[in-house]
Amino acid sequence: MAQLIRRAGAVLTVTLLLGGCYESPDVTLHEPGEYKGPDDPFLEKAADPEHQEQLQQRLARGQTDR
């Protein structure tokens, strides 16, 4: 039941927000539970500063008007 209400709340928020009303009604969202699946090795890679640097350069190269 609690979950149902939560869901209704979320949909309502959305409807209002995107319908042009930017006032957030007070909706409490439930904290997500702990992720249950296996680890993603990507997480470690993503944290590597060199990798971050690479992505930054990629953005400049591809998404600016150059």
Partner: protein, 197 residues
């Protein structure tokens, strides 16, 4: 640490669907599932505007909040990913998502839903990066290869930006300064609890 975000510039989007096709091509998304949609307001009238919408990789993602089996996880740079082996296809996340991102391939009879599929910010899912298994379930992992979301990288007009939130906001801000008018960061308020100023 970067915070990955999407931003679609409605002044530039021409509703050409390249982003949708790029995604389908890159990840071999099956017919009937689109991780990204182009949405048009006032179609055919003065004021017609389009934006391209997919999973926005929200802060405090509502989908994760409602998942009864907790199959979601968020990377340090804010990408919301999920595990299809855990997903039970219940469809709650679809209703929670402000952007209609989660989708479910219909599986045979009785409308039983398959495992949820959604935009991964081109970052795959759990498992070894760019393994055959990861590709099969989640598509390519471009981020692991040092690339960015293909939908944004192939966008016809560079309307759709995808990458570090600060940097894309910069690109966008410069554009708005040049052309004037009000910045409209479509969906940011909802997804990232912030507008663009």
């Amino acid at each position: 640490m970067a915070r990955m975000k999407f931003l679609c510039d409605a002044e530039r989007c021409i509703e050409c669907n390249a982003c949708v096709v790029a995604c389908n091509n890159e990840h071999e998304v099956p017919w009937g599932i689109n991780r990204r949609h182009v949405v048009t307001m006032k179609d055919g009238e003065q004021g017609e505007k389009s934006v391209s919408v997919a999973c926005m990789h929200c802060t405090d993602a509502p989908c994760a909040a409602v998942c009864p089996v907790d199959c979601f996880y968020t990377t340090d740079d804010g990408i919301v990913l999920h595990d299809k082996d855990i997903c039970i296809g219940c469809g709650y996340c679809f209703y929670a998502c402000p952007f209609g991102a989660p989708q479910y391939p219909e599986q045979q009879a009785f409308g039983v839903r398959g495992k949820m599929d959604k935009c991964t910010f081109c970052a795959g899912g759990p498992g070894e990066d760019n393994s055959a298994e990861e590709f099969e379930k989640y598509g390519k992992n471009r981020i692991a290869e040092g690339k960015l979301p293909l939908c944004a990288e192939m966008c016809a007009t560079k309307a759709l930006l995808g990458g570090d939130g600060d940097e894309i906001a910069d690109i966008y801000r410069q554009r708005v300064m040049k052309r004037g008018g009000r910045p409209q960061t479509w969906g940011w308020e909802t997804a990232y609890k912030e507008g663009e100023s």
